[in-house]
């Protein structure tokens, strides 16, 4: 009995698909149905892949995100950003704060300079 209920209810989004068209072919037909957010279509579902990070592992994710923004803006790949590179490369935060990050007044800031500046503002994850 409970197995029947379970399989039925587990599949209720599929039951919804039977009640009204689903899938790419029914793009507009599926409009105006009740919201089911959050929901993931079966094809995109995966076994829980990554463990929820916290502490040092989460901090390293944060650092990777910042590093990725830094590297994306580092047009000449010299490991530092000029004001122009930061502005043109989408790292507007560095551009906005450039003079305060560039404490040596060298016209270039390193990734460590950026981290040091953010720590000084109160960032606890860097």
């Amino acid at each position: 009995m409970t197995m029947t209920i379970r399989s039925l209810t587990r599949g209720w989004p599929l039951a919804l698909c039977m009640a009204m068209p689903c899938g790419a072919a029914a793009a507009d037909a599926a409009a105006q149905v009740p919201m089911r957010d959050p929901w993931v279509p079966p094809a995109a579902r995966q076994a829980a892949s990554a463990a929820s990070t916290h502490g040092a592992a989460l901090n390293s994710q944060v650092e990777r995100k910042l590093r990725s923004s830094f590297d994306a803006a580092d047009a000449d790949h010299d490991g530092s950003l000029t004001l122009a590179e930061a502005r043109a490369g989408g790292f507007g935060m560095v551009a906005e704060h450039f003079e305060r990050i560039d404490t040596r007044r060298s016209g270039r800031v390193s990734f460590e300079d950026v981290k040091r500046y953010l720590r000084g503002r109160g960032a606890t994850t860097l």
């Binding site: 507009d28 919201m35 089911r36 957010d37 995109a44 929820s52 989460l58 994710q61 906005e96």
Partner: protein, 532 residues
């Protein structure tokens, strides 16, 4: 096709008024209303006053995955109307702007999409100090209609939930709890929802992914700030459900771009899709994060032993029990098929009303089963489990009576409200929920389903003053409050993060008492964020 044949010189309101003026007969007045597509409105649109402008937008908007507006045809036109609302005896005059802004790629400057938005701005306020809040629902693929017409805008649909006895149509009433007394409000529809659409060579599908969608919202906000000279306004995000996932990713993108936020409001969060067993459908995953919600719902239906009249104190007990007893038992069950002790089963029944027999065979009870199994004859709601309907009834047919009861009314009201009150007219259907979810690219940071906690952490590293307010409903079986608390706990003890839980479901603001509480908490949250 799109953008052609604009009839700016003949707004429909003007046409209606001339009809009525010529006829001066009640019977013809009602005919004119029909001809104007009166929809949710109940009266003929009033004459436009100084500074007001109706817009008859002839562009046809489409929300299919392959749809796009032809390049070079989009404009940033908007309807502008003046309104007033009385809050605590004091008149607040405001301007509503309903129309489109075109987003551009920040690096290439190429047009990307035409976003539909409705902005409510207080008249006479200083842009430098007046806060600005950007609202969006989730889905993904949902227009922002639920927050727009249900939560803290100047008007709200009075649904009466959790009761399902309210007569329809629901009245659209002045909202005594509007956030407009604190902040200007901008409701944004995601690309491929409402009247928002990609611009060729992009298609709507180009933006149907976690990263592309968040970048498009960033570009919309940047455009809104530039167009309205609001760069110095304190800026907040307010997302719901998938909109909280978007907020995590978007907050990181905003802070990276150097457009800092003051605060982020997370309404009924799913910050990590990988931690919500009701979303992944993964039988090997623990549903323990739902257990305190099961208890609160059981208490609402008076199925717990003893009765639990105070949701807040019961929540404390449920959190503690889940952490110390239930979660470890579920872990052992999933890993080793260790059967639960009979003492534990009795506790589970007392705390939820679900029988020991069901707990014995389904220790890792999923929320869909809970909706069906709690009470034999009825299906309880997913968004608001306090709403129930007999199994087999029309309200239960779509799997969530709380959603089915209100969905049509929101969709029906929007068209008439846009036409008659905001004076924005478009022949296309305003799509409240597109099919985006079925072809959405959920990948983010190299994993299949998005985890936006690292993004929020990165935003808070880039802007250590950033404040976060998380709000949840005790009776929400879509984004359970305890799981949200666990997800946010990953960020560590942080005085910038505040968590509130109210009676109610996913849309806590539909509950009249909870909306008032939430409004008070929002006001103090904004005050704290602005004090720095």
């Amino acid at each position: 096709m799109a953008g052609q044949n604009r009839r700016m010189n003949k707004p429909p309101g003007a046409r209606c008024r001339s009809l009525i003026a010529a006829a001066l007969l009640a019977s013809l007045a009602s005919l004119a209303l029909t001809a104007c597509g009166g929809g949710g409105g109940s009266s003929t649109p009033p004459t436009l006053g100084a500074g007001e402008k109706a817009l008859d937008d002839a562009t046809v908007y489409a929300t299919g995955s392959h749809d796009a507006l032809p390049a070079g045809t989009t404009t940033e036109a908007a309807a502008i109307t003046k309104h007033s609302i009385t809050l605590k005896g004091k008149a607040l005059d405001y301007t509503a702007t309903a129309g489109h802004l075109v987003t551009r790629d920040p690096l290439s400057n190429a047009p990307q999409a035409s976003f539909f938005y409705v902005a409510y701005t207080a008249d006479g306020a200083s842009a430098a100090t007046r806060p600005l809040t950007f609202f969006y629902n989730g889905g993904p693929g949902s227009a922002s209609i639920w927050l727009h017409l249900g939560s803290f805008g100047p008007k709200r649909l009075a649904t009466g939930e959790p009761s399902t006895s309210a007569a329809k149509p629901f009245p659209l009433v002045d909202n005594a709890e509007t956030l407009l007394d604190t902040s200007d409000l901008v409701f944004i529809d995601a690309i491929g929802t409402g009247y928002s659409e990609a611009i060729a060579p992009n298609t709507n599908q180009s933006f149907w992914g976690v990263d592309k969608d968040a970048a498009a919202f960033r570009d919309f906000i940047v455009r809104y700030l530039a167009k309205n000279a609001r760069h110095s306004s304190p800026t907040f995000l307010f997302g719901e459900s998938y909109g909280t996932t978007r907020s995590g990713v978007l907050a990181h993108l905003m802070e990276t771009a150097g457009v800092p936020l003051k605060g982020v409001v997370l309404q009924s969060s799913v910050m990590n899709y990988g931690s919500n067993c009701g979303v992944t459908g993964d039988d090997s995953m623990s549903c323990a994060g739902y257990f305190p919600s099961y208890g609160e719902v059981g208490a609402y239906y008076r199925l717990t032993l003893p009765a639990q009249p105070d949701p807040d104190s019961f929540a404390a007990q449920l959190r503690s029990f889940t952490h110390t007893s239930y979660e470890p038992a579920v872990s052992n069950w999933l890993a080793h098929h260790t059967p639960p002790a009979s003492g534990l089963l009795a506790q589970l029944q007392d705390l939820t009303g679900i029988s020991t027999a069901l707990w014995k065979t389904h220790l890792n009870l999923d929320p869909s089963s809970f909706q069906v199994d709690l009470i034999p004859s009825v299906l309880i709601g997913r968004y608001d489990a306090r709403v129930s309907a007999p199994k087999g009834s029309a309200l239960a047919a779509e799997g969530d009576p709380s959603s089915t009861f209100i969905s049509d009314e929101f969709a029906r009201t929007m068209g008439g409200y846009l036409r008659n009150t905001l004076r924005y007219t478009n022949a296309s259907t305003y799509i409240t929920l597109s099919n985006a979810i079925n072809s959405w690219d959920f990948r983010h940071d190299g994993v299949a389903l998005p985890d936006a906690i690292p993004d929020l952490a990165a935003a808070m590293a880039l802007n250590p003053a950033l404040k976060v307010l998380s709000v949840s409903g005790y009776h929400d079986l879509a984004t359970p409050f305890y799981q949200t608390e666990k997800d946010l706990a990953r960020l560590g003890a942080n005085p910038n993060i505040r968590i509130e839980v109210y009676n109610g479901g996913h849309m806590t603001y539909l509950d009249d008492d909870s909306r008032a509480q939430e409004k008070n908490d929002l006001r103090s949250f904004y005050q704290q964020a602005l004090a720095q």
